[in-house]
């Protein structure tokens, strides 16, 4: 346990250089490229003294290097600063957006696992059969479907033609978010508040976007599960289990699948970055008010602090998840020691 703690601390420390490099890159790119928040806000034809005042106010008159050091100092104090366009703290801007993104990605991950792992295990148990080939084909095709297009097609089918599911937003207009919103994780909030009608509304809204995201990633997990299952199904203990007359289903789904799960868990950590990237596109397709849409919105306004803040949050999310995966690893695999 003490070693685990040591490991966690070293992992946390390791995210610092990563953040530093990303931030430096984004900072330089943002400021070197044409366009700045002042002209985005005031337009190109504003009088020079107004532009000057605004620059002074935002600290954009200082040399880039000074701005950079100031920003790093701010980050070191865990302060993401204030939006340059709207007078709002970056943290407050993200307060309701981040939970939306996290909720979307977590549900999507559940869909991914629910689709990918059983299909992969089934394909492996029926290796080289037509069903195996069909499932593998599904995996390959799904991997090549752009997530935003999948979203549009599902919207068209379930939202427009069948008219079963809503295609935009987190809740419908008749649900009053202020009634239950505490943490802004709407699923949790509605359950805590015991507001079942609202919970239904939230679930029906999250279904399509998270399914979209889940399906596109399921191909990766399907292939990984299949490959691992093929290895495990060849191992001695599976043979022994079969020899004892344990039903094949039991052997495949209880004995083998459990052991094939460890590499899948690693993949889960690695794929989380892909999931977040996919989430931006899904958010854009489903008008989902998450931090991905916030990023796109603010990029056009050149709202430097918010863009940098969102990047920091993404980077932290990625490292947090990979750390969590490593810790879970240590618990389920007794051979892993830190």
């Amino acid at each position: 346990m003490k070693n685990l703690l040591k490991y966690i601390v070293s992992r946390v420390l390791l995210t610092i250089p990563m953040l530093f490099i990303l931030l430096s890159l984004v900072f330089v790119v943002l400021r070197v490229m044409p366009g700045d928040p002042v002209s985005a806000m005031l337009g190109d034809h504003a009088p020079a003294h107004v532009i000057r005042e605004k620059q002074l106010e935002l600290g954009l008159d200082k040399p880039i290097f000074v701005q950079y050091l100031n920003y790093l100092g701010q980050i070191a104090r865990f302060d993401l600063g204030e939006s340059m366009v709207y007078k709002q703290r970056v943290v407050d801007t993200m307060k309701d957006k981040l939970p939306a993104t996290v909720e979307l990605t977590v549900i999507a991950m559940i869909f991914t696992l629910l689709i990918g792992i059983p299909l992969g295990a089934f394909a492996a148990s029926k290796r080289r059969s037509a069903r195996d080939f069909g499932i593998r084909l599904y995996g390959n095709i799904v991997y090549c479907i752009p997530v935003y297009w999948m979203g549009l097609m599902l919207q068209l089918l379930f939202g427009i033609f069948l008219n079963w599911l809503p295609i935009a937003g987190r809740t419908s207009a008749r649900t009053f978010v202020t009634d239950f919103a505490r943490s802004n994780f709407y699923i949790i909030d509605t359950i805590v508040a015991g507001n079942w009608a609202a919970l239904g509304d939230v679930l029906i809204h999250i279904f399509l976007p998270s399914l979209t995201l889940g399906i596109t990633l399921s191909g990766v997990f399907l292939r990984l599960t299949r490959a691992n299952m093929l290895d495990t199904l060849k191992s001695d203990y599976v043979l022994a289990a079969r020899a004892r007359g344990i039903p094949e289903k039991h052997v495949v789904y209880r004995h083998a699948l459990k052991n094939a799960f460890i590499p899948i868990l690693t993949m889960l950590g690695l794929q989380f970055a892909t999931l977040l990237a996919g989430a931006i596109l899904t958010e854009s397709t489903f008008s989902w008010p998450g931090i991905g849409r916030l990023l796109l919105e603010r990029i056009y306004l050149r709202d430097y602090p918010v863009i940098q803040g969102v990047i920091v949050v993404y980077a932290l999310l990625v490292s947090l998840i990979s750390m969590l995966v490593d810790i879970i690893y240590a618990f389920i695999d007794p051979r892993v020691k830190y």
């Binding site: 250089p17 790119v29 490229m33 752009p146 919207q155 990029i299 990047i311």
Partner: protein, 306 residues
């Protein structure tokens, strides 16, 4: 691949089509026996790519419409015999836009993959070969970039650079540099310790000689596979960037942009404006993925035992 029998089959086909087909058939079935399904996956991938490249090079063979012609048909016309994929909100022929649009996406994806490999491979080689603080610093930078969601970086770059073919290529290329770097560096580290490299060093080969004659050729085989898969990925990234409106100026036909335009008409049930661009993106990405996967199996004899 057996080049002799390949050209032989082709030469004979020129003389007598029947015998040539027989040779071709035998050659294919021999490969089928050796590599199984993977062989056919690769062939299918190559066929898909070839078809789309052909459409990109001479789109006039497939369509008589100008992709920018706003009088090609009726506004938002459903697919029919004249307009196979229908027409969009500006009355442009969607089929023709797909044919001409393949130029954009293929060009950007291939150029981006080339740029990132041309930067990533030498850096990876040097980093793995030289080692020391140079390797440590570079690896840290590359790992940081690699662990971060690539699309988000590409979005930031594309937004800052503004619309344009070169700009979007740069934005896509940047995010794949770490992929090549990590792959090549890892390979270099392994190959550096091989006996034949040690032997070369023992007979006094120069460092540059070892790098280019002994290490580089052995690294490049794996790069080929990744290059193909990378193009597939770059295709999706390019389309994603234009989908969210960060790609190209409106005067260039582009699949991702058509998709984002179709999104506006989705609530009115205009299915053809979103279906066809998406299908095209998917098929093209699938082609390169299949080629890459087939190559991976065929170039890796170890996997054949499975």
């Amino acid at each position: 691949m057996d080049r002799k029998s390949n050209t032989g089959a082709a030469a004979e086909a020129a003389f007598s089509p029947a015998a040539g087909m027989g040779r071709l058939f035998r050659w294919l079935s021999e490969k089928n026996k050796r590599y199984g399904a993977e062989w056919w996956i690769m062939i299918a991938g190559i066929l898909i790519i070839a078809l789309i490249v052909f459409a990109a090079v001479c789109p006039t063979v497939f369509t008589k419409f100008d992709p920018l012609d706003q009088n090609a048909g009726t506004q938002l016309g459903a697919p029919n015999a004249e307009h196979l994929f229908g027409t969009d909100n500006l009355s442009r022929d969607i089929f023709s836009r797909m044919m001409y649009g393949s130029r954009t996406i293929l060009g950007v994806a291939i150029a981006a993959a080339l740029v990132s490999s041309l930067i990533g491979i030498p850096l990876g080689l040097l980093s793995g070969f030289i080692g020391g603080w140079f390797d440590k610093t570079l690896s840290l930078v590359m790992d940081s970039l690699y662990s971060f969601p690539g699309l988000i970086l590409a979005i930031s770059f594309a937004a800052m650079l503004g619309p344009g073919v070169i700009n979007i290529t740069v934005a896509v290329a940047v995010i794949y540099i770490p992929t090549y770097f990590r792959l090549v560096r890892g390979q270099t580290l392994t190959i550096k310790e091989e006996l034949y490299v040690e032997a070369a060093r023992a007979i006094g080969a120069k460092r540059s000689m070892i790098l280019f004659k002994y290490i580089f050729p052995n690294v490049i085989a794996t790069v080929v596979v990744v290059f193909s898969l990378n193009i597939a990925d770059a295709i999706m990234t390019e389309a994603a960037l234009s989908y969210i409106g960060l790609g190209l100026p409106g005067s260039i036909p582009d699949w991702g942009m058509d998709l984002s335009m179709g999104k506006k008409f989705l609530p009115s049930g205009v299915w053809w404006m979103i279906t066809f661009p998406g299908v095209m993106i998917m098929i093209l990405a699938l082609g390169f993925t299949m080629l890459g996967e087939g190559l991976a199996e065929i170039l890796n004899p170890k996997l054949l035992e499975k």
